[in-house]
Amino acid sequence: MLKNVAEPEPESLDVTPTTPKAKSRTKVFALNAKDKYYALLFLGPSVLLLALFVFYPMIKTLYISLFLTSGLGKTTVFAGLGNYVRLLTSADYLNSLGVTLIYVFAVTILTIALGLLLAHLASETLPGIGIFRTLFSATMGVSVSVAAIFWLFIFNPSTGFLSLLSNWLHLPVINWLTQPNTAMVAVVITTVWMNLGFTFLILLGAIQSVPTSLYEAASVAGAKPGYQFFHITIPMISPTLFFVSIITLIGSFKSFGLIDLITKGGPTNATNMLVYRIYKDAFYSGNFAQASAESIILTVIIALFTLLQFKILERRVNY
């Protein structure tokens, strides 16, 4: 029932605006009986599946969030908005909200900046560039658990790569995963590394589709490469940047696997993100009501951010 927020959903990918809506809406009502039958037939299966696996769990989550749940996970006492009020006034929950926001912004900004840098570098046509393109997009093929184990080895205080490096450079060894601040840094680094492959590939595709005539014209006019990058490349790939930023933002709000495998929300709740909290409240403490309320709050937050991005970024996007 909580799955709808815990996993990335394919439909959230569909953020690029499609054909004008008003026109097609009038047409639907103008359909004749036979066409309506076909429309129903075509839409039926997906509506049915969505209803069963998305809408029903969503409504059920909302319902549970308005109750208290017993030790058996059953709704017993109606609580109204009690669960929400308690959450939004608890220092613990507000801390989770804070660390989630820090994490989300750090991950989104770093992913896009690094992805753009790599994509720009790899868009040059040089001999052997294919090797670099493959390397830069390689993290797409790495599963979360493998990445987590790989990074756990790197962060290990006694045998890890980072501690060996520190020893070699005569720097103090940092116990990355047991101190609140460094644990957050470690989780951000790992997530950015995981995201980079996909972002790189998408941005590279966008950069390569910018017509070369624009650059040629700019060169003739005497524009420097840096100027060309900011005044031709960025505006031309802005729809893609917009798409990638939304995907990364939503994805990092939902981040779960790496947190579970690397820090388990610790130390002292420093990496206890909203989604991980939902999981712990539901499946460790058995407090399904509170977990449901947290899911609804998370849904609202993600919806708000997506809306905000559409409102602000869309105006600057050059389709």
Partner: protein, 458 residues
């Protein structure tokens, strides 16, 4: 074109029906059904869910295998379920479906939840019908899983918190080892001497930030954490964490921190690993942990290992500590013969020989009193005399309502809040403030839990 389309639609229609039928089929399959309880060779199948990983799982599978070969009526099918915490939810949420287990292992702090669920058949019922003598099983271990004189579950993997010390280091610095049942000041004395005489190279002691250890300190000082005698006389409605015993325990730790004897490894699984590593590397001389770590501490230790009982406050006698670990429960959603098969398996797992073998393989305590006469254990004690201490601590304590565990729902969250309070104190915060804050949150949560479970406040 039209023909093609209609042909296509026909297939689409067929696939739509297929989807609908599949979903209906799934829905029907989800309904509770009579469980298919027989294997192909006519044995009654008994599904057993457990949470033992690593060497303990190997030892457990040996017991299961032994049981299946010992008779031809039942076939126990073991299934590993991951961590204790997650298993509890799986057990409760699958109850009444055909995927639920017939017999399952559930950990100490889920006991109140399991008792209140009414999803299990009490062990007492089978023991009475079978004339099985429950007195052969350790009374201290049984007390945690009993309510109103009824044995609800059978204790299985059972541990005691004990204090470990590095006997070689103590000898090296000419320090008298702590007595077998030490007081707080006995431990402080050793910690100070070790820290000073090693020229501050070895820290004296550590106590992991772990709610279980705090609760055990209360038990050992005959103090209840909750009203209604820690839940043994009815559902707790009030928690009293900010009591003189807790304050005394934290003050003892605080004074050692201030003198520099103490090293803080933090909380969580990594803290447990790091403190063992520190102990084995002569960085810290004493620590308190479950007796189930003995195996790890003897196998890789170049030093001689010393073990004492859990420390108690000065001027009192140790009350004894509650057990940790998990128990075996029998689900009541299975037919009578399956439940009987579950009990037969439990009897087999708890017999003297299997329990002795279990202690040797895992470090969990042998619960059958006759296990102590088994050659396996006699041999173990001959080579590692200190291995006897946890069992002695369990045997010498008289079970009462303060040292038989806390029967309260929501213990997972309670422990988290206790640990936050400990963390605050370890980092120099005010003891009284930390305990008041934690106590408030625990009580708020308890009130909601009781309200949801329909418990009326008294």
């Amino acid at each position: 074109m039209m023909k093609q389309l209609s042909k296509y639609l026909k297939y689409d229609l067929i696939s739509l029906f297929a989807v609908v039928l599949t979903l209906l089929g799934l829905a029907v399959a989800q309904k509770p059904q009579a469980v298919q309880a027989a294997t192909s060779d006519g044995k009654t199948q008994v599904v057993f869910w457990h949470e033992m990983g690593g060497p303990a799982e190997q030892a457990l599978l040996k017991i299961v295998d032994g049981f299946n070969k010992s008779q031809d009526k039942y076939e126990v099918v073991p299934a590993y379920q991951g961590s204790y915490d997650e298993a509890v939810q799986k057990i409760i949420q699958t109850h009444g479906t055909n995927t639920s287990p017939a017999v399952f292992q559930s950990f100490d702090i889920s006991t109140a939840q399991m008792m209140d669920s009414k999803y299990t058949t009490p062990i007492q019922k089978f023991a009475d019908a079978d004339n099985y003598d429950l007195n052969q099983i350790s009374a201290g271990a049984r007390a945690f899983y009993a309510k109103d004189g009824q044995q609800m579950a059978m204790p299985f993997n059972t541990s005691q918190p004990v204090l470990y010390y590095n006997a070689t280091l103590l000898k090296k610095y000419h320090i008298t080892p702590p007595p077998v049942s030490p007081s707080y000041s006995d431990i402080s004395r050793v910690a100070t001497q070790l820290y000073n005489r090693s020229n501050h190279k070895v820290k004296g002691m550590t106590v992991q930030i772990y709610g279980w250890l705090l609760e055990e300190a209360l038990a050992n000082a005959r103090t209840s954490l909750t009203n209604n005698s820690d839940g043994h006389d009815g559902t707790p409605t009030k928690v009293n964490l900010n009591n003189p015993t807790t304050v005394q325990f934290l003050k003892w730790i605080r004074s050692n921190i201030q003198q520099g004897n103490f090293i803080n490894y933090g909380s969580g699984a990594s803290a447990g690993t790091n403190q063992i590593a520190g102990f084995l590397a002569d960085k810290v001389g004493m620590f308190i942990q479950s007796s189930a770590t003995i195996g790890q501490l003897t196998a890789n230790n170049k030093n001689k290992l010393g073990i004492t009982y859990f420390p108690h406050p000065d001027g009192t006698k140790a009350n004894g500590v509650a057990i940790g670990g998990a128990a075996l429960w029998i689900s009541n959603d299975k037919p009578q013969n399956v439940q009987q098969g579950s009990f037969e398996f439990i009897k087999y797992a708890l017999n003297a020989q299997n329990q002795a073998q279990w202690q040797k393989a895992t470090g969990y305590l042998a619960l059958n009193k006759d296990s102590q006469n088994e050659t396996v254990l006699k041999k173990l004690y001959a080579s590692n005399p200190e291995a006897k201490v946890p069992a002695q601590q369990l045997a010498t304590a008289t079970p009462n309502k303060t040292n038989s565990g806390i029967l309260m729902q929501g213990m997972q969250l309670t422990r988290e809040l206790e640990e936050t309070a400990m963390e605050t104190v370890y980092n120099g915060g005010d003891i009284n403030n930390a305990l008041t804050t934690a106590n408030q949150s625990i009580n708020d949560n308890l009130k909601l839990t009781n309200q949801a479970n329909g418990v009326k406040p008294k």
